[in-house]
């Protein structure tokens, strides 16, 4: 028999994994384009609403909606990237912050207009409900699924960025834009497709999140804070950093609540400030 | 190579001891030993990528050395912050203009004068009451032939004027040693003379080290030339000695077209 804290830790890890899927896209786009996208969670919310609509209105199975939410978020993001974001790549942090906060505001209102302010319920497939007994602690099946998806995403991203031609182009563009252009890499295209990838992952994260944290029009802002914490603690542009930070936040949140509940939600902010004091560029940051 | 007694650094305005810096395996400064006597007019030359600007960055504290020391008037300043070095009298200009785009020259130079005089923390005082500081700033501008555009925003000034403002900002700190990083970079040939006229007219107490590519200018204004190659001092000597040095011809003068 394992002591109960292991069960709690497992939950924390699964929660961290969810944060990772939600935030890794932002981390990559920030690192690549140096663009502060505070509307990132609006894409996550979009993914969430796509899933909810397909499941509850069109009767799709939950799993089948996941790729759709990825695509929907990715496509929407490319449209916005071409129309708005692109013009601000060279603008100040402040302008980027303001534009994207504006988009996040709009997303909240639009979601409230279309779907109402109500909390969206979702039925996950029976196979993902309940828990498995593992040496006396219950491991939630959905959380196991979450961990599996997050690991797959990590694997796919590492392989994609390390071993493919696209990955090489992305890395070259991150290292030195001017040189990448000189080598004939279409940096604009690389940016747009990376942006789509990052937002698509956010959309996927939004769909996955409904079961754990629910979905309402305020999602754009509620989870933005957590995502920003993960990204800044992990270091911009670092997949490993986001992964480590998401785990750190997930586990310290859980462990803090278990051992010192009085500290409440305090702990993760404290972790963030301490990490940034120690390493301003984040755990795995280069700059 | 001329032998220099490195033990007596106290007599020099600025000197370095074994100054080294590398980025990974790339060595940008290797064991650099320099001595600038008071009132000297030294030129620092070398091919592109020789580490000239890096050396200025090391001396002014914008880049930390891996090893070595920097002495200003005999005082070890290696661990001081850039602004503390400026306060002790070590100023520089930048190869690429680093100005205050939306301030006008009068404001920019007054800012530098206020910093030197220690009045910039005064948040309760109207700046205009500091008559001495403002007039000092204006005098510097007039001396650098910028008096007629003192009230024009910096970003609207012609490029040559902006290069002069670079020097004016450095002079406002009342330096003992001034490091000029290609003061005439990017300025048309006919205007670069003006800039060096100004440089030449600076007080004789001021110790000068300038980076310059134009050999005519170097030979005209420098009393001493240091040749830097691959992050190390290749040779140094009087203009005549350098001009006659076949090694310098080979590594530097021969391929001067980089510009």
């Amino acid at each position: 028999m394992l002591p109960p804290i292991f069960g709690v830790l497992f939950d924390g890890i699964a929660y961290g994994m969810l944060l990772f899927v939600l935030s890794v896209g932002l981390s990559v786009t920030l690192g690549l384009m140096n663009f502060v996208n505070l509307a990132h969670c609006a894409f996550a919310m979009l993914g969430g609403y796509v899933t909810v609509t397909l499941v509850n209105i069109f009767g799709w199975p939950f799993l089948a909606t996941l790729p759709i939410s990825f695509i929907a978020a990715a496509v929407t993001s490319v449209v916005l990237e071409r129309l708005l974001y692109r013009r601000l790549y060279r603008a100040s942090d402040l302008d980027q912050v303001l534009l994207t906060i504006g988009l996040a505001f709009i997303s909240v209102s639009v979601a409230a207009y279309i779907f109402g302010t109500i909390q969206q319920p979702i039925a996950t497939p029976a196979a993902l409900r309940g828990s498995i007994d593992f040496f006396g602690i219950g491991l939630g099946k959905y959380r196991l699924f979450l961990i599996a998806v997050a690991l797959l995403v990590t694997l796919a991203m590492v392989i994609g960025l390390e071993y493919t031609r696209f990955g090489a182009q992305v890395r070259a563009s991150v290292d030195n834009q001017r040189m990448a252009r000189g080598l004939g890499i279409d940096v604009d295209w690389t940016f747009a497709s990376t942006f789509a990838l990052g937002s698509g992952l956010a959309g996927l994260g939004g769909s996955l999140a409904i079961e754990i944290v629910g979905l309402d029009p305020n999602f754009s802002f509620t989870y933005l804070v957590y995502v920003l914490i993960v990204v800044s603690v992990g270091g911009l542009g670092s997949i490993a950093g986001s992964f480590a930070a998401a785990m750190l936040i997930g586990i310290s949140d859980i462990a803090g609540k278990y051992y010192v509940p009085e500290l409440g939600a305090f702990l993760i902010y404290l972790v963030m400030v301490v990490v940034l004091m120690w390493k301003p560029a984040g755990l795995f940051g280069k700059r | 190579m001329s032998a220099i007694d490195t033990s007596a650094s106290a007599g020099f305005a600025l000197s370095t001891r074994g100054l080294s810096r590398s980025f990974g395996s790339l060595v940008v400064a290797r064991d650099i030993e320099l001595n600038l006597p008071v009132g000297a007019r030294y030129a620092l030359i070398g091919p592109n990528g020789a580490g000239k600007t890096t050396l200025i960055n090391l001396m002014t504290g914008m880049l930390a050395p891996n090893a070595g020391q920097i002495m200003l008037g005999g005082q070890d300043i290696t661990d001081l912050s850039p602004q503390a070095r400026v306060k002790l009298g070590l100023a520089r200009t930048f190869q690429i203009n680093s100005l205050f785009a939306h301030l006008n020259p009068l404001e920019a130079v007054t800012l530098a004068v206020c910093e030197r005089r220690g009045i910039s923390p005064r948040f309760w005082q109207n700046i205009a009451v500091n008559k001495d500081a403002i007039e000092e700033a204006y005098d510097i501008l007039v001396r650098l032939k910028l008096g007629d555009c003192a009230y024009q925003p910096t970003r609207e000034l012609p490029y040559g004027r902006q290069r002069l403002l670079e020097i004016a900002l450095a002079l406002a700190t009342k330096p003992k040693v001034l490091l000029l990083d290609e003061p005439a970079a990017g300025v048309p040939q006919e205007e670069s003379g003006d800039i060096f006229e100004v440089v030449a007219s600076l007080s004789n107490d001021l110790t000068l080290l300038f980076i310059e590519h134009d050999m005519h200018v170097v030979f005209r204004f420098a009393t001493h030339i240091i040749v830097l190659v691959g992050g190390a001092v290749f040779t140094e000597g009087s203009p005549a000695e350098i001009a006659a040095d076949p090694g310098v011809r080979e590594v530097y003068l021969g391929k001067r077209h980089h510009g």
Partner: protein, 389 residues
């Protein structure tokens, strides 16, 4: 230039001045709620209740036309609520203040009600102290001690649990509920073996639940605000292996509201709660109310909606009694002791405290014909707030 600015200002002023002409024949009700932000759905449901009542009973009462002016606080902002109340009184000349999604809003506006002598109808905010803050406040919703005490007494007696653990959100309503449950549970012979107050913004509950489980309680009392948390904590109970069949999980109504149990699914079965309203309640008026509500808004009413609905009933009946007189003293006098049959059953306004007296139902989550609903199986009638002196 200057002249044109003054002219423009004068024009604006003319547009902004209260419409004095129509004031004679209208009663203006200023509704202050958190229409935007995290609590937007609460405000929307209260508003639906108000709209339905006005649709059913017409917008004229005692010869006067009812006009609603809505103001958004954006969340628990007492300063905004106070300003909006002031503006409603001085700018829009409202006769009655109503709404109040959240306690801070009600507390912020209370002093305005006192100073302006206006009836203030609390349609939701549930912290006990609210009605004590102004003699012009009447509450038609609920108070958390009302629910908490009933739950505590029931659990220690009919519920048969002797050891309980309490988990509440760390803010006024949660602390109110915690205090009332613990007092009543101990008074009825039970023992509180532990308690935890959880941060209000809290996405993951498993650590708190594990703490509770470590102590092996017979019953757990839960209070979390409505929204995303009820479903999250419900699922976390199941994942940490707390089976409602073995440990009696008692809560207030928010934790097992319609969306929450829908999202939880079967793991919610067996959850207990003490509450004053549910769309599944079998009272005299409820079926018709639920049907009308569904026809109008395509969703089920909840306790927010019924708060708005009953609040309007109180205003209409009070106006009828005063014959259209709208001063606060007459309206409060008319409201005191008022009794009526609400969709939630018989309710009345305590003449001493101006607070609601109502039946509290004990419910269990069950599957009825394939749908998961709260089924009431016990009740305590005429429950007052136990904390008012």
């Amino acid at each position: 230039m200057k002249r044109s600015i003054i002219a423009a200002a004068a024009l604006l002023a003319a547009a902004a001045l209260p419409n004095a002409a129509g004031a004679q024949g209208t009663v203006k009700i200023g509704v202050i709620s958190a229409y935007s932000g995290q609590f937007a759905d609460t405000a929307a449901q209260i508003d639906n209740g108000i709209k339905l009542y006005m649709k059913q009973h017409g917008d004229t009462v005692a010869g006067k036309k009812i006009e609603i002016i809505r103001k958004d606080t954006g969340g628990p902002n007492p300063d905004v609520a106070k300003r909006l109340a002031q503006e409603l009184v001085v700018r829009d000349n409202v006769d009655i203040l109503a709404g109040f999604t959240l306690t801070p809003e009600a507390l912020g506006a209370a002093s305005v009600a006192t100073e302006a002598k206006k009836l203030m109808v609390d349609m939701n905010a549930a912290t006990s102290i609210i009605t004590e803050r102004s003699p012009y406040i009447v509450r038609v919703s609920l108070t958390l001690p009302q629910i908490g005490e009933t739950a505590g007494t029931w659990m220690a007696t009919k519920g048969g649990a002797k050891k309980a653990y309490t988990m509440v959100s760390d803010f006024g309503p949660g602390i109110d509920a915690e205090g009332a449950f613990q007092r009543a549970f101990k008074a009825a012979g039970g023992e509180i073996i532990g308690s935890v107050r959880m941060p209000i913004a809290n996405p993951d509950f498993s650590a708190f639940i594990q703490r509770a489980k470590d102590l092996n309680p017979e019953s757990i009392f839960v209070f979390v605000p409505g929204g995303a948390q009820p479903a999250a904590i419900g699922k976390a109970f199941a994942e940490r292996g707390l089976d409602p069949a073995k440990v009696k999980i008692m809560s207030t109504g928010e934790a097992v509201d319609e969306q929450a149990i829908k999202a939880m699914g079967d793991v919610s079965l067996g959850r207990l709660s003490a509450w004053h309203y549910d769309y599944n309640l079998k009272t005299k008026n409820n079926a018709a109310f639920v049907k009308a509500f569904n026809d109008e808004f395509k969703r089920n009413p909840d306790f927010f909606a019924v708060g708005g609905y009953d609040g309007m009933h109180l205003i209409y009946e009070a106006l009828k009694k005063t014959g259209g007189k709208t001063d606060g003293d007459s309206l409060v006098a008319a409201a005191k002791g008022m009794k009526w049959e609400s969709p939630r059953g018989p309710i009345s306004i305590d003449p001493a405290t101006r607070d609601i007296i109502q039946t509290v139902y004990i419910r269990r989550v069950e599957k009825v014909g394939g749908a998961i609903v709260n089924v009431d199986f016990d009740k305590v009638e005429n429950v007052k707030d136990p904390t008012h002196k």
